[in-house]
Amino acid sequence: MTGKLGDRLLHGYTWLIIAWLTAPIIVMIMFGFNDKQSKSNTSWQGFTFRWYGELFADSSLTGALVNSLQVAVVSTVLTTVIGTALGLALGRHRFRGRGVSNFLVFAAISTPELVMGASLLSLFVSGNTPRGLATITIAHVLFSLSFVVVTVRARVVGLDPSLEEAARDLGAGTWTTFRLVTLPAIMPGVLAGALLAFALSIDDYVVTSFVNGNQLTFPLWIMGSVKVGIPPQVNVMGTLIFGIGVAIAIANAVASRRRA
């Protein structure tokens, strides 16, 4: 559409947007090293490693992080099992209820988080259900389920059915075929779905804020202390989570490139 000059402008523009998207991350990392004296952590007051040493000094913050990890692990396992099963059914079989299933998957993705959280709270209030880690986990499975189904379904659809037929012709039973042929073949989709579920769970604020009762997760703890000032430990934890996430993503990319 554009000539050489236009290309260069667009190239620069792309980098400008990337810089803008990255700026708050740099600020987050930087203020984890801020040697702040006053309560507010908004102006730069010198470099320190102090907060890395005192990472777990605030027990309520540490507790919230532990809650987040616990919920993320349990909900990821549940979501992956339930979602992979539906993904297999939708990708492989024609059955009654297929249309309804697809509709539910789509509806759950497109419902605003706020409405999902509010409706779950309505259910728990109507049923007098005590709210806590269990209800948070239920909610997290619900909002990540569709994403696992979609990722696994895409992988199953791309799978050659003759592989499974060959296994069955060679005398493998349903379970053996699944374990030795189907599962390894769809594994990348299952893992991608599981990673997505974990990321969605550990990051969620909106839905969790409705069903948490008196339990706090990491994002809830942070939101609760916005008005009084965020301690630098939050920046440090954010930096560490960011570092681990990026490292996993890069390692994954390198590994898949080697395989190719």
Partner: protein
Amino acid sequence: MRRVRATAAPYLLALPAWIWFGVFFVVPIAAMASVSLTTGNILEGFQQTFSVSNYAAAIGQYHTQMIRSLVYGGVATVIMLLLAYPMAYWIAFKGGRRKSMYLFLLLLPFFVSFVLRTISWGFLLADDGILFGPLKSAGLLPQGFHVLATEFAVIGGLVYNFLPFMVLPIYVALERVDPRVIEAAYDLYASRWAAFRRVVLPLSLPGVFAGVLMTFVPATADPVNARVLGGTGTTMIGNIIQTEYMTNNDYPTASALSFTLMAVLLVGIFVYARSLGTENVLEAAAR
């Protein structure tokens, strides 16, 4: 025996997800509908009266915030579309072998918690923060200058947080455009602009459609940006619903508001799909 198991397989596989969706998605929406038609309060209990008075009262009291949310969500979506398209275009057509690197950089913010990202924005924009603090002490900005607690900060935060969800679908649509189709347009003496407007742009519309859906709904219903970056004059409907549920324990009003929000968004999506031509969009997406 084998045959029976084979036909039962899809139902057994789908059953757990059906139960989860049924009990924790369909039933709660119904529960919310039923709560929105009750009267009473948390101390004396709620009675099912099937009265729509909650809706009238809720909309009467909070229509300002409802309209404000739709305006903020709409403005943010338009800005995102304008920002995202050129970037998606450049990555899809000129990214070459570094395409995946650009996409990775675009997704970098997602490795930081949504809440924390928004707060870091607040850091940047703070009245005495690293951006405005030095400018103010140098006398380049008046002391009273502030961005936080204004609609600019809130809409800016929404744009920042949801922009990648606009870029990705447009990128995917553009990336699928066959370069030979564009060459054909040039062979038929189309100018660069005509080739873009009449070939590339129409082919990318499904991506634009998906991008708008993926950003407008969460941006309009978002309570985080208004709470962290906004002030008393920028309260959005998400904040009201949270307060009504969690602080005021006024479940009927909160349910009525949630339902109204969902209905407004659904109608919005429907009108938008119709005005763009659902058939065109679906047809293009299927290709």
